[in-house]
Symmetry: C2
């Protein structure tokens, strides 16, 4: 019974995908006499919490049960604490999916509810409710974005032919899934060579989407206004990540002033983790790393990923001059290679996605 209503609360929470980052996804369901009388979810960043949305416009919820995927907040943030509202509303029982890892909240919300005489049950569908907020749970701790790797490859591990033809390796169903990822994560990161080869828009095609931040790793500042992500930047969401020595160049100044490009700069001494930390400082809680080969290899080499999905098409290029998915390692034994863990498979007609995570659990995409 509890699981049934919690499952509905989880579906409610998912309605916030793409809109709430870097806040958590939260859903709430209010049940009275075994009937749902209201539902609510956290709808947009800084907006009212799920509990508030579920409780609003209700005359009396005295004696009702509140199902909420994440521990109710007990502090003043962008909105007043939810615990106060719940106590005032005379909810009798509060069923919580998972505790909030936010040190400002964790356990305190539960304590306030219990102190007010509300019965509290914790951990109903705990894994599923945790999965809603793998991104939030990581980002809240040290402001390093959640990193998810996405790539479409042939059966023989290639991402393009020798002359960079790559349209299309994966099928339309698989590409639809990629759009869902683009809606889910706050930013997309690609290398400068991918921009030069493909001139991608890096927009999201999901309806009612928001576009992700476009992050271009371009240490030598080789891209210019020819490319769509530069000349089509009216939303000011393009970031170029480049070496600090380029700050003084005319191109840097022009791109910044004429095209409102944001820059993240780093010194030769700084590493990928330093760069991720700088990305995180812009409220970008999660990054979808899309390619190309050298960018993907960098993230795998440094083991700086939380998860990913590699989508395989049943095609063979069979050409050692074709562009490989990854490169730059040199293991002697199979076990010295990278072993992806917590693997699951997604079948898209004749394509298969290999989804993997560093930690147990998965994303609600």
């Amino acid at each position: 019974m509890h699981e049934h209503f919690m499952r509905i609360a989880i579906e409610e929470a998912k309605k916030g995908i793409g809109a709430v980052n870097p806040n958590p996804l939260v859903g709430a369901v209010i049940v009275k006499n075994n009937k749902i009388i209201s539902v609510g979810h956290h709808e947009f960043y800084g907006g009212p919490h799920a509990e508030v949305n579920a409780l609003k416009n209700l005359e009396s919820v005295e004696g009702a049960t509140l199902y909420v995927t994440l521990e109710p907040c007990s502090h003043f943030g962008k909105t007043p604490p939810c615990t106060e509202l719940i106590i005032k509303s005379k909810i009798k029982t509060c069923i919580v999916g998972t505790l909030d890892p936010n040190p400002l909240v964790s356990g305190r919300g539960i304590k306030q509810l219990k102190d007010a005489g509300i019965e509290v049950i914790i951990g109903v569908l705990e894994n599923e409710t945790k999965n809603l907020n793998r991104v939030f749970f990581k980002y809240i701790q040290n402001k390093i974005p959640y990193i998810f790797i996405k790539c479409g490859i042939t059966l023989d591990g290639k991402i393009a032919t020798k002359n960079f033809s790559s349209k299309w390796i994966t099928n339309s169903l698989a590409r639809e899934k990629v759009e869902k990822y683009r809606n889910f994560f706050s930013g997309i990161l690609v290398g400068a060579n991918t921009v030069i080869q493909d001139n991608p828009s890096l927009r999201c095609k999901v309806s009612n989407h928001r576009n992700p931040y476009r992050l271009i790793l371009d240490k030598d500042l080789i891209i210019d206004e020819k490319y769509s992500i530069i000349n089509n930047n009216s939303d000011c969401k393009t970031f170029i990540i480049t070496l600090d020595k380029n700050i003084k160049t005319k191109k840097f100044q022009e791109l910044k002033e004429k095209f409102s490009i944001n820059f993240i700069t780093f010194s030769k001494e700084e590493n990928l983790m330093d760069i991720l930390s700088k990305i995180g400082s812009y409220n970008i809680d999660s990054v979808l790393v899309e390619g190309g080969s050298s960018v993907l290899s960098l993230f795998f080499k440094e083991s700086l990923f939380d998860g990913g999905e590699i989508i395989i098409a049943p095609k063979i290029l069979g050409d050692n001059s074709a562009i490989p998915f990854l490169n730059g390692f040199s293991p002697n034994l199979i076990d010295e290679g990278i072993n992806l863990e917590n693997v699951k498979f997604n079948i898209y007609d004749n394509n298969v996605g290999v989804e993997f995570y560093k930690e147990d659990g998965c994303l609600p995409v």
Copy 2:
């Protein structure tokens, strides 16, 4: 109802896997008053047919229904025609899965039964009954063996590290499936380099198995008695396929006389199809092509395969000096590569098999 009993007949037929080649897999079920009174299958090459096994030891089957996966034979082969026996037994109805493509049989068996007043229904679970005998149907036509490609690769399309380490790429569940293939096909083919690198036994580890023929493509006769497939040949199932210029060498004669190695020789002018035709002449109706890279590439390049399964492990070698799954093509566009068709996926815990066929349908493995 018909499908229910035909499904049981199909399961009966599968009991002959590994034992009947190059004969077909056939299962039969006899039903009277809606109850199964007998089952039978074709048990071994040249042995009694499924119908005979189902009918033996029964007192009376007058008025009963016979379900048989393949059209009953009407000619004297290694055994007398089944149609005679069926007519004599006073079976009332005969339900047939699929017609026999064998020009000696096709349609004639059905005609004999009908002429004798037996009601005949054809095409119950036609696809599934056809799938039992994809190998037989191909081989009967022109004596070219059915070719199935099997390979275990990393996510980035490699079959070994730069120094040929390949143990183990795939997991134990996937390797169990490979043993089933080794039991299903009459022969296994590998290249001489695979013998030199891995010294494989090329035996089948399935219980109650028969070992397949071991076919080594070794045009320059570089392997010798050091290797298991040579010095462990008491069943005389090792074949070496080599250029005819090697016939005169001392090694050729020694391997033939001392180790009872069979040789298939070919001239420089002959191609892979000629070689397959010679393999077929030894009653080898099907070959599992297991590797290595250059042998697999040869079969893909000439498009001489009927199906295959590539099993992918979630491992990354990321090394362009590692041994690639395939090589030697050079397409400019994605669509100029090989497109595998009729794809289905088999999940083995954290490995995934990509099974594919030139023609619609699949094997009963």
